[in-house]
């Protein structure tokens, strides 16, 4: 019961009195019924204070007059009205009231970036969710309890404004930091609902709402209360966002059509979620996306562009990892603006100022456990806001994710020390959030006519954490925060004074030292030392090279050439010759290749090595709508380690948890490039399928026994079902295209876009390659036959452990075989796997490659190829093709890579000796004619990283000793320092699609 608030009690007042209240309220006077505390006078004059009108505009001594909740006037010569209550603010600074732009209601307060990203657990229940996949006996995500979306984490209809009941307990800590208004947002789910801008005072809820439905909120959040509910992976979350927006667009069209002509057509379903999402889908309502990690900032911007959304982003706090992506995010929105005709505005970033605090390791040697990346994250954190400003992005600060709001100002100070200007910081608290919320006419500056929200700070002002926030004003009402400081006691004796002065000077000196230490960043950019290594010819950069006298394994009809020359320029091979016909000399580098071997860059046809978050969307039996391309991880150290093994191309595949998995992504290992730049441009799209133990959940524990299929009988049944559905979808699409107007003379509503069936449809149309995880001969044949019924030729059979038993059938079908060289006996279905399989299938006319399915094995595909020589006697030249030309053919990229021939990409490896010998090492790896790995530089590269780490530890220890630990030091250690970035979560995990029972891949 909010006893002091008369308005909240209006339901006890007679209707007539209520109307009267409304009337007088509009006049500014307000007479409460007897018994209520009388309202204070509504006119105030704040005199003598320094007034910061807006960032960059300050009046040293000025008066602010407030009348009935708004600012009546402000200026140096304003005379306080006679009726005003006068407040002496001499020595204090008046700011426009601060606006908190992101205050999720309840929730864990943990940022999305800290999400547990391995969503599959053995002991969990099976649960699909989307209706059409519900199978008998399967526990499903029931979605909303009433009408709503079938995925319970899609709740756009949720309005934070209807759930807001202000409580001082929650508001006071924000006011203490100077905030007067806040954007309250729903805290859970993926599409979460809409936020509202409210005043931070306890009152009648209706009275404190400044603006309802400001943003629709989206988070790339994989957390779920239920396990094994779609979507459980990061890529699944993104796919769900896409599908939801397409659904909302379709919903609006369908309902408009139906409400115009309700007769003679099927009534569309009512769906409050899609209805609520429509304004955002149509670009009429802003969307705020919390991507959760540095790389997902880019993805969020791209998805928003794809969906033509008007959007802002919540900073991950780690944009320093790839500032280039942030720059791109802003240009992307300009593109949306061109397409939609809206003003080109780069997205605003809402920036949390939650910085990691230093740990206190129990022993000195425990520092061993601290990674360079953790130290970098700690050292970069405070610089991130300034870095965003350097990219010309607008930022607004939030206290979001701070468990103790008191840390806010201390962290803000650290950000200022790292190059953020006070004007920018002030704008990030006032004008920018006001503009972002579309309230810049009412909030954000101290100007006549605006709402009287003010923040008053003593002493040196807000950006000195020692100077306290004394008062805030909200709607012209004063909220007292802190009393004036007592003046410091006079020193009693001269001696003491001297001592005190000395101590003070000492303290000041130490503080200055610590400040200098804090301010100077030691961490380098993670992009340093990555990317193409410049090759110089004299002073200029080489545009090509001529490598002479080497043994060249062309993997073409030229076979192995000894004493041969490789000549390439501008990324493409010009010639491979026995004679020295190339033109060397600047700008082409001449390299002596005698005694060296050169092969095409190695290609791994089965990899999970650079995937952000989970490898499987293993919830539903078909997850054709998810895309590995959405979650390419350009930051993993695996890329460099595999380059060092001569790998240049990897086929990033979804795991094998379901009969129809997700879409693949072929990448080139251009370490240092962004996720988009890693993608192999023009590579035919593909998709992962799977058969056998994994898809029937054989090793998932005894509780996973209800998802269809549970046997090898059900696998072809399932495939056939989805292909039939996709055929029907294609047919409906085609008839929609050709239909013209319908019988009633109207254009038909376009078909609902179904991302799952659309993807399977692409397979049927021959536009998408299947890469199917397959083990036993019976299931292989069954799968071949089902696909043949749909005239689909399988791209590759992956692992294909018993492929040797049905090699003729595979050859006749025309599928490629992408096999393990010698893995066997790790589960029952591979007990008959043999290392001779590659040679046997090759002899019988199957196109064979060897793959890694392992971040370790991907570092030595050459010796995997050698196993084909050993087992079954494949010739050395053919064996090398197992990891070069053949996978290139299987992936449909052999026009560009896989062999060394004129016109092809200059992707090649320089070896110290015979490439099939374990004792040879990779000396250099080149992609697109650029050198990405050089063994002679590797040790120095590591040494530089070790030095950086040592310097960072030295800094950390000094700061910890000095009491300044980087982030706010009085905060209780929450382990934030050890938070592992999503980008590096799997750097030390050898991920592959086996062992679902352990890792959920």
């Amino acid at each position: 019961m909010k006893a002091f608030s008369p308005a909240s009690n209006r339901r006890f007042v007679a209707p007539l009195a209520f109307l009267a209240w409304l009337h007088v309220a509009a006049c500014g006077a307000e007479l409460s019924p007897p018994g209520f505390r009388p309202q204070p006078v509504g006119v105030h004059a704040l005199v003598g204070g320094k007034v910061v009108i807006k960032p960059g505009e300050t009046l040293d001594v000025a008066t602010v007059v407030i009348r009935n909740g708004y600012i009546e006037s402000v200026g140096g010569n304003v005379t306080p009205p006679a009726e005003a209550r006068v407040w002496d603010l001499t020595g204090q600074t008046i700011y426009a009231g601060f606006i908190e732009p992101y205050l999720p209601l309840s929730g864990t307060n943990a940022p999305v970036s800290t999400t547990e990203t391995q969503p599959i657990h053995t002991d969990s229940l099976t649960s699909g969710s989307v209706n059409f996949f519900g199978t008998p006996g399967q526990r499903t995500d029931l979605g909303a309890s009433g009408p709503g979306h079938e995925i319970s984490r899609i709740t756009p209809e949720l309005r934070a404004v209807t759930q807001y009941s202000p409580r001082d307990r929650a508001l006071a800590p924000l006011r203490e930091q100077g905030f007067t208004a806040a954007l309250i947002a729903p805290a859970n789910g993926i599409i979460r609902g809409s936020s509202a801008l409210v005043q931070l005072r306890e009152d009648n809820p209706n009275a404190v709402v400044l603006k309802p439905d400001v943003f629709q909120h989206i988070a790339f959040d994989t957390r779920s209360t239920e396990e094994r509910v779609y979507p459980a992976s990061l890529m699944g979350v993104i796919a769900t966002v896409r599908q939801s927006f397409f659904d909302a667009q379709h919903y609006a069209l369908d309902h408009a059509d139906w409400s115009g002509n309700p007769q003679g057509r099927k009534r569309p379903e009512f769906n409050p979620a899609l209805e609520a999402l429509s304004p955002a889908a149509e670009g009429k309502m802003q969307v705020l996306i919390e991507p959760g990690s540095a790389l997902m900032v880019d993805r969020a911007a791209r998805v928003a562009r794809e969906l033509k959304l008007d959007f802002a982003l919540v900073s991950s706090g780690q944009e320093w990892r790839r500032p280039d992506l942030v720059g791109q995010a802003s240009s992307l929105s300009a593109e949306v603006a061109r397409e939609t005709g809206r003003m080109p505005v780069p997205p605003t970033f809402i920036v949390p100022v939650n910085f990691p605090t230093l740990p206190k390791p129990p022993t000195e040697e425990d520092w061993d456990q601290v990674s360079l990346d953790q130290l970098r994250a700690w050292d970069w954190a405070a610089e991130n806001p300034a870095l965003l400003r350097q990219q010309d992005l607008e930022i607004a600060f939030t206290t979001y994710s701070l468990s103790d709001k008191k840390a806010f100002r201390k962290n803000l100070k650290l950000a200022l020390e790292r190059g953020l200007s006070e004007d920018d910081a002030l704008a990030a608290l006032t004008t920018l959030p006001a503009k972002l919320c579309g309230m810049d006419k009412q909030l954000g500056t101290i100007e006549a006519g605006k709402i009287a929200n003010l923040t008053i700070v003593e002493g040196k002002g807000y950006f000195d954490p020692e100077s306290r926030v004394r008062d805030v004003w909200i709607d012209g009402r004063n909220f007292h925060i802190a009393a004036a400081k007592e003046p410091p006691k006079e020193a009693k004796k001269d001696e003491d004074a001297e001592k005190a002065a000395k101590a003070k000077a000492e303290k000041k000196k130490k503080e200055a030292e610590l400040k200098e230490l804090r301010t100077k960043r030691v961490a380098r950019s993670p992009l340093e030392g990555r990317g193409a290594i410049p090759v110089k010819v004299g002073d200029s950069t080489a545009i090509g090279a001529f490598i002479s006298g080497a043994t060249i394994w062309t993997c073409s009809s030229s076979g192995r050439m000894t004493n041969a020359n490789l000549y390439f320029r501008e990324g493409r091979i010009v010639s491979v010759t026995r004679e020295g016909t190339g033109s060397s000399g600047p700008p082409v580098k001449w390299i002596d290749g005698s005694s060296l071997h050169i092969t095409p860059g190695l290609i791994d046809c089965h990899s999970h090595t650079a995937i952000l978050g989970a490898v499987n969307e293993g919830t539903l039996p078909s997850s054709a709508m998810v895309r590995i391309g959405d979650v390419v991880n350009s930051e993993t150290k695996n890329l460099y380690e595999q380059l060092a093994g001569g790998l240049t191309v990897a086929n990033l595949l979804h795991g094998s948890a379901n009969p129809i998995g997700g879409q693949n992504q072929v990448i080139k290992l251009r370490d240092g490039a962004s996720p988009e730049e890693l993608k192999f441009e023009g590579a035919p799209p593909g998709i992962k399928f799977a058969l056998g133990e994994n898809v029937k959940q054989s090793n998932w524990g005894d509780r996973n026994t209800t998802r269809f299929p549970q046997s090898r009988m059900g696998v072809p049944t399932f495939h056939e079902n989805r292909f039939l559905a996709a055929q029907q979808y294609l047919a409906a699409q085609a008839s929609g295209r050709s239909a013209g107007t319908n019988r009633t003379g109207r254009m038909p509503v376009p078909l609902r876009r179904d991302l799952e069936l659309e993807t399977i449809g692409e397979i049927i149309e021959g536009k998408r390659l299947i890469h199917c995880h397959s083990y036993r001969q019976d299931e292989i044949l069954a799968f071949l036959r089902v696909m043949e019924r749909f005239q689909v030729r399988i791209g590759t059979l992956q692992h294909i452990l018993e492929g040797y038993k049905v090699a003729d059938e595979i050859a006749a079908h025309g599928a490629g075989a992408s096999a393990f060289a010698d893995w066997w006996a790790f589960k029952f279905e591979v007990y008959d796997a043999i290392p001779f399989a590659g040679s046997l299938m090759h002899e019988r006319g199957v196109l064979v490659s060897f793959n890694s399915d392992s971040s370790d094995l991907a570092r030595r595909m050459n010796t995997e190829a050698a196993k084909a020589v050993k087992f079954g006697g494949t010739s050395e030249e053919d064996a090398l093709k197992f990891v070069t030309l053949n996978p290139a053919k299987q992936l449909g990229i052999d026009k560009r890579v896989g062999s060394l021939e004129p016109g092809k990409d200059a992707d090649f490896v320089v070896w110290s000796g015979h490439p099939l010998d374990s004792r040879s090492v990779v000396l250099q790896t080149w992609i697109d004619g650029k050198k990405y790995f050089d063994r002679s530089l590797a040790a120095d590269r590591a040494a530089a990283l070790q030095q950086e780490r040592a310097d960072l530890i030295a800094k950390a220890k000094k700061l910890a000793g000095g009491g300044g630990s980087g982030g706010a030091e009085d905060k209780k250690d929450d382990g934030s320092f050890f938070r592992v970035a999503l980008e590096h979560q799997f750097d030390y995990v050898d991920r592959h699609c086996l062992d679902e029972e352990e890792e959920g891949r």
Partner: protein
Amino acid sequence: MLIECNSALRSCALAASLLFSPLNSAVVRAESVLLTGATVHTVSGETISAGQVLIKDGKISAVGKTVSATGAKAVDLAGLHVYPGMIALNTDLGLVEIGAVRATRDQSEVGEFTPEVQSWLAVNPDSELLPVARANGVACFQPTPQGGVIAGQSALVALDGWTIEDMLVKPAIALHVYWPSAGLDVTPREQSRGRTRPLEEQDKERRARLKEIDDFFQEARAYAKAREAAKEGDNFLRVPSWEAMLPVLRGEVPITVHADDARQIRAAVSWAETNRFKIVLAEARDAWKVAGLLASNTVPVIYNHVFTQPPRDTENYDVQFAAPAALWKAGVKVAIGLSSYRASLAKNLPYEAAQAAAFGLPADEALKTITLYPAQIAGVAERLGSIETGKDATLVVTDGDILDIRSNVKRMWIAGREVSLDNRHTRLYEKYKSRPKSR
């Protein structure tokens, strides 16, 4: 004469080996055999090109350029190479058949302190995995128990014999101590749902775990003393766990400490020094970081991490490949073990050594890491690990460098018996190779 047969005979042999144990296709022969013409890689001494090895009564009775071998049956191995049989230490071979099938896993027992557990008792002589390993030249292995702190004891087992008793080369070659983790759980609280405990608390527990090991050994010593003091006729209560510790305390069974983290390794070495225990370090991911310490304490290493990815983001890409070379340079004796507990790939042992050779370990040293050094670490160097007079005639004949994947094992002798190279893989290969071409 099972191996020197033409293909027809070979398939007879295959049939026989399908009927009987594939490990026991050999026939014990009393006559002596002279291997001639091959390059003899003695490992302990010079490599002899076109040398001779005389096998008699299961032993190497002579080796050299030419040896006198009257009455011996000559086997011409011209152009081939002879190596001592390889030894795979610290593996779950023989204890695991199919990793994902629980019923076939016997490598791990429950309980923190179970020194009386004996791994070799659970080795399945008919495991399909054994002949696969043998066919590539692995002659002996150490089935190693896992689980708890003191997991039990291991033996050295030969890849030949009808029963585990036939196969046993030497029981109780090591007591296995899995050193408690030295790492702190630093999962941020919001990720562990509040379960992460304060670092100081973890530090205390870490110390307590170390003390537990120490206590266990002290208690074992007390038991030994009490047992000695017990007079005949006293009804002294024998405790199997403590009994199992007696030969360890007497120094007869060496202690193998399994540890990866440098913190663990330092703690283990210091513990061994204080107690004057002889230890062998196994797994040993970070051993290269404390190579000097290991060398000065003469702690041999079974290194199981050649193919482990660099565990820290500041390491050079080849840190684990190059670790054996670093240890060798520091003077540490290294046996290379398999990088994973995947018993099915035990055959790839020589290629782990080859990788170390590619990254700085001299080729002759690399060969020793899988022959002589493991024999020494297992305490069987008087019988295995090199081609020397008096040692077991456990020999592998290859058509090329044994470290080169492209080489193939052609023949093999274990303790003087020629063994079959036939295995599940070759059988399935032969079967499907001869499948008539369809259409």
